[in-house]
Symmetry: C2
């Protein structure tokens, strides 16, 4: 079986082109320019790359971007005060706090301080609950939303398929499970305490891996015909001292077995950013009513 690569880059590019047109229309018809505020605390190099990418894309589709680059020494109270101001600012439609935060800051308290209608990352209790209850008017976390969009494009119907998700985080694994349940998938969630992940993975029609462990999933874990979504982005240093990005799946080993797979990079990553723009546009539109 020839494994087909799922081209997240071109999918995201189509999405952002469409979003750019819709932003223009919103400006012309309603005089609203969607605005996204991004808060980055400290100097984590990976986070800086992500934030720079998000800002660049925000500009590219014609939205306003408000960067708040705060030093590592910023107190929790200062961040909460900033969020309180952004919550009230009519030019800001979406607020994103780049994770992870430096030690000593309580990420949960900070995230929950974002007003739900500007929570474009979908991480507040209110939006998390709306997703779990199947309400359609909340914000869905960008990475699982992107994975769902890719799956819907690649597979004709998800109903009745067995999706196995490895990784049970609040940002990815758990909301992904909710989305796939809504599509009629049977869903298995595996994680660090799971005794036989390879046995479960072999039963999957759809295998979604989001663990942060480089090449955790081996070729022997994959049955013929599985569609794999590899959410991992792990930086490794090669023998000739270069930095390389690899996923949570041993890519070479699954080629020829899997039906389809997202490459790393160029798979889930670009679609995640496009989904952030999609959510920010939605937040701006919601202010019309």
């Amino acid at each position: 079986m020839k494994t087909q690569l799922i081209d997240g880059k071109s999918f995201a590019s189509n999405m952002t082109q469409k979003i750019a047109l819709e932003v223009k229309q919103l400006q012309q018809e309603k005089n609203i320019t969607p605005g996204l505020a991004v808060i980055l605390v400290g100097n984590d190099p990976a986070s800086e790359v992500y934030v720079r990418n998000k800002t660049k894309q925000t500009h590219r589709v014609g939205m306003r971007s408000f960067m708040h680059l705060l030093p590592e020494t910023t107190t929790q109270e200062e961040i909460l005060n900033l969020i309180a101001r952004l919550n009230k600012d009519p030019d800001i439609h979406g607020i994103l706090v780049q994770l992870p935060l430096p030690k000593g800051l309580n990420a949960d308290t900070i995230i929950q301080a974002i007003t739900p209608h500007k929570d474009v990352d979908g991480l507040t209790a209110y939006n998390t609950g709306k997703l779990a209850l199947g309400h359609k008017d909340g914000f869905i976390p960008c990475t699982p939303l992107g994975c769902l969009m890719l799956l819907q494009k690649e597979l004709s119907s998800l109903k009745g398929l067995h999706a196995v998700i490895i990784g049970a985080s609040n940002l990815m694994g758990k909301p992904m499970a909710q989305l796939l349940l809504q599509e009629g998938c049977t869903v298995t969630i595996a994680h660090i305490h799971t005794r036989n992940p390879e046995k479960l993975a072999r039963q999957a029609d759809i295998l979604i891996v989001a663990t942060g462990c480089s090449e955790l999933v081996k070729g022997s874990w994959i049955s013929e015909g599985t569609t794999i979504i590899d959410v991992g982005i792990n930086r490794i240093t090669t023998k000739d001292n270069k930095t390389k990005l690899i996923g949570d799946v041993a890519f070479e080993e699954v080629l020829g077995k899997a039906a389809k797979i997202t490459p790393v990079p160029g798979g889930v990553g670009p679609v995640t950013i496009a989904c952030l723009l999609h959510n920010t546009l939605q937040a701006a539109r919601n202010t019309i009513k």
Copy 2:
């Protein structure tokens, strides 16, 4: 293997005795009597039985019970007005709307109108989200909370066990999955679109069935040693025209294979009501701070 019956009745009886003592203490020390408002619309006979039971138990532990029995013709607006009043009433700590509601009423709009700190059924978006995020200060729906308590009592540790949940409702299957993930279980959620539920059920260390289909789960679905929680309560009429309650599991068929099982009646049912009292007591205590 001799199958052990899980005695929900005596577990619930121990729980309510303890709650009764704590209610007395709360009255003596803080002059607070927990109060539960129950709203029943229409004349569904099963709902009337449930509500009567809940009221009886509420009284028995020394709480106040406020029954609102409304005719089938009640409008959505009237119910929303009632909930708005109850939300503000300082004597009411918990509000419960008995489901299902008559046709023409939007259950979701009505439930979401309950203020989250009186939502002792744990069904508002805010409490649903708190559970999904692993926050410990929200209200957890009573039936899955009761099932978890029974499992914790019966099994020494849940970590790493494979729990298979059949039924993916907002009231039971989905919150149950969240609770078991938090305990370190691997979780599979099956439902009406699942292609091979019997194959999945045979992999379960813990099998939880909440489908409303009488005796859906047959003996052949069960592997030796599985612990079964049967959440179903189905009323059937026997040949001699008597009403009998049966579960979602073919009870006789699994005896000798399952390690443990909750009987119907006398399993999950009584524990659910005890959990409602537990949540109402918690809601009353939360008003102290």
